[in-house]
Amino acid sequence: MNVVLIEPDQVLASNYKMVMEWSGHIVNHVSGAMAAIKAIDEKIPDIVILELLLPAHNGIEFLHEFRSYTEWQHIPVIVLSFVRKEELNTQALFEHLGVVNYLYKPQTKLAQLARVVDYIKG
């Protein structure tokens, strides 16, 4: 599965990328929203993993722009963020912005992320 990982922290990105590649996925890592749009435009992924706290833009802005492209409507998004779910209107995220899973980063082990991605692939 082709994964676009939108993660601003280099060290975390390297770890997430590593575990997903062990599971056989191809991971394209980008650090911000604009780079993500460009990467997805170049090669449509099977899934997007998104941190909401991005430099310059926030992840919600990215999701709105991402969902404005009709050809990307079907791509599932996993939010993997330092923002707690309770701080947001998750109903809107799940129902209108195509988020299929919301993972709180400090409580998500690397192996758990890989299992979630595998489950969505399955």
């Binding site: 601003p8 975390l12 590593m18 941190e51 991005l54 310059a56 980063k105 400090p106 690397l110």
Partner: protein, 237 residues
């Protein structure tokens, strides 16, 4: 004995929240490295040590920032050589800068006499600012990541600070951020994705020595700096 005002109490709680939010990142780095080690992977022990040092510096900085005793309006000041402080700060930041593929430079043009300050406060502030700027560079291509620890003399005194490619950093943004830390995830948008707790802690430490951070320019870079006044008496010694 001066009684803390309600505003000050709120400010210290907000600072603690900002520091607590910021500590999550280094702890997560450590947790992930341990998870990888448990699954039999080789891990970069040096990287864990470097991030731990930075986290400890942040915690120590916060505790130190609360050290003013009731009735004390500033710490006892002493002669400090800013070039020596910046050199030591650069040495302590060099490993974490390398981990984040960020070039670290010193810019010290000219000779600077001693200034009246508090060495531990200034060094701690510069290290925390340095880490905040290193984190903030991560949305830049790795070949362009660069921070500069610089001092330059002007008619106010010796401006000492950390500079990077944060072009959108402005005085208004800094002023607004000072009302938002502890309440917003990213009070200082120009500092990338992090909470920027190091910036606010640095400011608190500098406040304790009657100084403060302001947005400054050094060559074509934007950064945060403080002004220290050379002491004419120290020059004579």
């Amino acid at each position: 004995m001066s009684v803390p005002t309600e505003d000050k109490i709120i400010s210290n709680d907000d600072l603690l929240v900002a520091v607590a939010e910021h500590i999550k990142m280094p702890l997560l780095h450590i947790s992930q490295h341990l998870e990888l080690a448990r699954s039999g992977q080789d891990i970069n022990i040096a990287r864990i040590e470097n991030i731990t040092d930075i986290a400890m510096n942040l915690i120590d900085g916060y505790i130190f920032s609360r050290q003013l005793v009731p009735g004390q309006t500033s710490l006892d000041l002493e002669p400090v050589t800013v070039s020596s402080v910046l050199q030591d700060s650069a040495n302590k930041l060099s490993k974490i800068a390398k981990d984040y593929s960020c070039k670290l430079e010193l810019s010290l043009s000219g000779k600077y006499g001693p200034v009246v300050a508090h060495r531990q406060s200034v060094e701690s502030a510069m290290i925390m600012l340095g880490y905040a700027f290193i984190e903030a560079q991560q949305d830049t291509e790795s070949k362009n990541r660069r921070i500069v620890l610089a001092a330059h003399r002007n008619h106010h005194g010796i401006t000492t600070g950390i500079y990077g490619h944060q072009k959108s950093l402005t005085s208004d943004m800094l002023k607004c951020a000072n009302t938002l830390y502890g309440r917003a995830h990213r009070p200082l948008l120009a500092m990338g994705h992090s909470s920027g707790a190091g910036v606010f802690l640095a400011d608190k430490l500098l406040n304790n020595i009657d100084s403060q951070l302001f947005v400054s320019r050094h060559r074509n870079l934007t950064g945060l700096a403080a002004i220290f006044t050379p002491s004419p008496q120290l020059k004579l010694v």
